[in-house]
Amino acid sequence: MEYKTSVNLAGVELKNPVMTASGTFGSAGEYGEFYDLGDLGAVVTKGVANVPWPGNPTPRIAETRSGMLNAIGLQNPGLDVFLQRDLPKLKKYDTKIIVNVCGKTTEDYCDAVERLSDADVDMLEINVSCPNVKEGGIAFGQKPEALEAITKEVKKYAKKPVIMKLSPNVTDITEMARAAEAGGADVLSLINTITGMKIDINRRTFAIANKTGGMSGPAVKPVAVRMVYQVANAVKLPIIGMGGITNGDDAMEFILAGATAVSVGTANFANPYAAKETADGILAYMKKYQVEDIKELIGAVR
């Protein structure tokens, strides 16, 4: 039997549903030292802004039970350096390239999105859960009106399909998903990290300098699967599911719950081959159950 693993996200055809989660895979093919990144459906870059950001003080990360906290603070070299130096490195691989965009103001996002629209990239993923944004510090990603508004603005400048990345730190994820859909998003990705805190009881201080950090890794998977399921039942847009995926079996949970594609993030740190093995694992699952086309499995659990 021939197995079809390819999926389509807003007109962009991925050879398989496996992508990398922004911020865990660098922007210049760092994991290409371990395997051919052409084995993946897409590579998603670290969040990049219109100007360089220095990020947060260290310690920036802390391990938690089956997970981790991070408060990198979106350190990035700025769009110019990304386009001139990092993008050409990624272009060497036979995979799709998705640029994750961050910003502090609507104008920041639009500026970056506009400049990226002329670059040789496949899609744009908009990270609207940055810690420091307008509106008195409340992220664009926690209010449906704000999310709809920024989606609309970004769409005006984007000549590539736009993925809106949703924050799980909300009462009702479907409300957020509907807002992004109403704003014109082409694809949704979820989940970003869950805000958490770890205290160093011996030093009696916060384990990370920023006090709070974003939780990721296998610990958050049940929350992520639940949200993907809820969103898949609330909107018509394709979904990129992520949060704690370490292998093909984890990925299948998301696909069965309704994700068209999946991203592997924190698992790359625990195993540099995690994303590739996830793609292999999905194929193995299809073979085990003789499912010819991955599309038959998307949202199959209802």
Partner: protein, 256 residues
């Protein structure tokens, strides 16, 4: 080239209270490793995801052997200490830049403090020129003393005065009236800061191996940065990645 390998434990011993010496048989890592580089060591317990970075203490290139010497500091290193010969550990490495071996110094200080002592073993073997190892310990358990005396003069400082100079590594240098062209050091933050200041004062070159929490270990996640004096070529901000651009930095490139 970096490798992920399941390395076989050839021997593990507790060489001082809570300090373990581990000889691993690797496939490629030992052959490619340089002094001052490190490996990411992974836990078997699935609740601990992140790698534990451990410096390379000694390399047995012929037998593809790699020696790590580490302190059982928390749950992960405690887990490692429970494994014996015949069991395995998953490693990624070799990682980082290592110490520069080609600077042509006539005489150097190799300074290790506490659990920063181990990388000085392989460095003392491979670095050309005259070498004085200055090791700072808390008490009288002078782990790796023999190894460090083989290829270099060994001078010791202990906090409690139970061996060598009572005090820190700088006290030992001063007490013994030692001089050198350059410093290669690994150890706790306060020691590194003092050495940076001392080197500036004395006009010596100085290379410091830094520590920071790591997630990827290969330069992808930006967890492990230190502040750099100038805008860094890679990050385009005043941050350098310890796992990739370091762990060894010229003291005057970085802020401590």
């Amino acid at each position: 080239m970096k490798y992920q390998e399941t390395a076989l434990i050839k021997e593990q011993r507790e060489i001082a209270p809570g300090i373990y010496s581990l000889w691993l048989q690797t496939e490629h890592i030992a052959e490619e490793a340089r002094p001052g580089q490190f490996v990411s060591v992974y836990c078997h317990d699935e609740s601990r995801l992140l790698p534990r970075p451990i410096s390379i203490c000694e390399i047995d290139r012929e037998n593809k052997g790699l020696r790590l010497v580490y302190r059982a500091a928390g749950a992960g290193t405690q887990e490692f200490s429970g494994y014996g010969a015949g069991e395995t550990l998953r490693l990624v490495g070799p990682l980082g830049n290592g110490f520069p071996l080609d600077k042509g110094y006539k005489k150097v200080f190799l300074i290790g403090g506490g659990i920063g002592v181990p990388p000085m073993v392989e460095l003392s073997k491979q670095l050309p020129g005259e070498k004085i190892v200055v090791s700072g310990y808390r008490g009288g358990d002078l782990f790796l003393k023999e190894e460090l005396s083989c290829h270099a003069q060994l001078v010791v400082a202990t906090e409690d005065g139970s061996a060598g100079t009572k005090g820190n590594v700088l006290d030992a240098i001063k007490e013994n009236g030692l001089t050198a062209d350059a410093i290669f050091a690994c150890g706790p933050g306060p020691m590194l800061r003092a050495l940076k200041a001392y080197a500036e004062e004395q006009g010596m070159d100085c290379y410091l191996s830094l520590e920071e929490r790591m997630a990827c270990g290969i330069g992808a996640c930006l967890a492990c940065v230190c502040k750099s004096k100038d805008v860094d070529a890679h990050t385009n901000v005043r941050n350098k990645r310890i796992c990739k651009d370091g762990p060894v930095f010229a003291a005057d490139e970085i802020e401590l």
